[in-house]
Amino acid sequence: MVRVTSRPDETVGGARPATGASPAPDAAGLGRARAAGFLVPSMVLILLFLVVPAAWTIYLGVTNYRLTGLAAAHPEVVGLDNYTKALTDERFRTSLLLTLQFVLGSAVLGQAGLGFAIAFALRDRRGPLRRVVEAFILLSWILPSSVVAFLWIALLDRDAGTLNALLGTPGMAWLLDHPMLSIIVFNTWRGTAFSMMLYAAALENVPRSHLETARLAGASTWQQLRDVVFPRIRGHVLTNLLLISLWTFNDFTPFLITAGGPEQRSEILAVYVYKVALSGGELGFGAAISFIMLLINLVIALIYLRMLGRRERA
């Protein structure tokens, strides 16, 4: 749930002299020793709670470690058994498929699409309508997840839910009959703010003169978007897609609404790992699945970096 408000591909060029000489290596006279000292607390915590768990995942994944029982005391290395088990497990494959649906539906189509549409619709507006729309979208983003989870449970409730009252569909059990659709819509609602803000900032960077040139040439709105806006904000789009894909892929909040149910029909990977490892106690198997998740994350990130690199070379 880390929300980054800064672009990872941005390198900030300091005020370097044009001489080609390096800038002052140490403007404040900090000294290498003290600088290293400044880095130590952060690096220790990052190492301990980010790097070590990541590495540990790899180790646990090849053991039969369990939360309780004999294997809890004496875990044995079982090689790639966990991985073959996962890859042949119907439940895992279903979960992976559901996660892909979840990412594509709620992040790529939902958050990015809706976020861009809203940013574009609001691009040259000022005044109360914009402020109210933005305020509600931001509220849905910043409120604690356990609160919004309950708000959605209440909204979608079968008997007394507001949605059924509005749609005139009493007795419609959204969470039971359409669990995936429910969490996809929920996550779209939850996360659109980030994309909206990012695209709003990006749209401000599209020079007015470019749009006006296109309009003078008689381009329709769609043509303006395709020929002027998108080429200009491609970097923002890629950054946005990477971040929201990663966040959505690892998001645990749907657990609060459907807990993976009914019958594992909304059991995305994050929920699956929790259930297997901590409810079911199969820590080794859970770690193997975690590691597969890490690999998928890495693949997503690499695809993005690749595309970004191509853009910069172009």
Partner: protein, 289 residues
């Protein structure tokens, strides 16, 4: 003749353009109203139910009362969980701001080979690892370090997860600060620590505030880490108590649930209002291209 035709064609075109323009405007309004409805609808309950003398799960015009808030006092965990949340959020924010500021300053001012690669690597790792993928080893690690059921454990784990992004944001702020400030102070004879205290900290204060608010908001809403690492309800923060209120023990008490939701949501909402009125809720740092 042909001039008339051209004129007619032109007025025809103009009329069509006007219609299209009007349609586009109407379309835009309809779209924005739908957006507004979609985002506001789930939130309405939070505004009405706490003040309704018989709150239901649906949204309705409340018969106004403040009695519901008394249920908060009756519940043994409601108020303590908010205090717990304050401890966790405050502790994490302080650690994140202090450690990230030190690290970002060192990284911004002293040339370390491979600095950017390190930073991007950590940022990527934190986006990937902070989620659910490492809950197993995190739990294990906390267990071995004797940090299960300890607030400090939650704070440290959360701090570790937030630090890479915090360093990244703050380094952006530090990089944007001209080194001539520090060099100027150095020529006047200020020591490195004096420079930190007199110049750097005041100059990047907006950045420190941003990161602090961002860290508080993150911890305030974080459910997974305290849910994993804390055992009893006496140390649980509001995020976890909120969840137990509607999942455990049969019929949920909607008076308690609604008032607690509101009270728990209010601090982040207020913080957001404060930040947006003070700094404008816009992207800081890197979004420049």
């Amino acid at each position: 003749m042909s001039a008339d035709l051209a004129k007619e064609a032109r007025t025809d075109l103009a009329a069509r353009a006007a219609v299209r323009h009007l349609l586009a405007r109407v379309g835009r309004y309809v779209f924005l109203c739908l957006v507004l409805a979609f985002f506001a609808l789930p939130l309405l309950w939070l505004a009405t139910a706490p003040f309704d003398d018989t709150p239901t799960i649906g949204t309705s015009l409340p018969r106004f009362t403040l009695d519901n808030f008394r249920t908060l006092l009756d519940n043994p965990y409601a108020l303590t969980s908010l205090v717990n949340s304050v401890w966790l959020a405050g502790g994490t924010a302080v650690l994140v701001v202090v450690f990230a500021a030190l690290a970002a300053y060192a990284l911004s001012r002293v040339r370390v080979p491979g600095r950017d690669a390190l930073l991007y690597g950590l940022l990527l790792l934190s986006s990937i690892v902070t989620g659910t993928a490492t809950m197993v080893p995190l739990f294990e690690l906390a267990f071995r370090l004797n940090l299960i059921d300890s607030r400090l454990g939650v704070i440290l784990v959360l701090t570790g997860g937030l630090l890479p992004a915090a360093i990244f944001i703050l380094k952006d702020f530090m990089d944007a600060t001209p080194t001539s400030y520090e060099e100027s102070a150095r020529v006047f004879g200020a020591s490195a620590l004096q420079i930190m205290r007199h110049i750097v900290v005041p100059v990047v204060r907006p950045g420190l505030a941003t990161v602090g608010v961002w860290a508080v908001a993150n911890v305030w809403g974080n459910f997974l880490v305290p849910f994993l690492l804390l055992r009893g309800p006496d140390k649980a923060p509001a995020a976890v108590i909120m969840y137990t209120l509607y999942t455990e023990g049969g019929q949920a008490d909607l008076r308690l649930l609604s008032t607690f939701s509101l009270l728990y949501s209010l601090p982040v909402a207020l913080m957001f209002v404060f930040v947006s009125s003070r700094y404008g809720f816009r992207f800081h740092g890197g979004i420049k291209r």
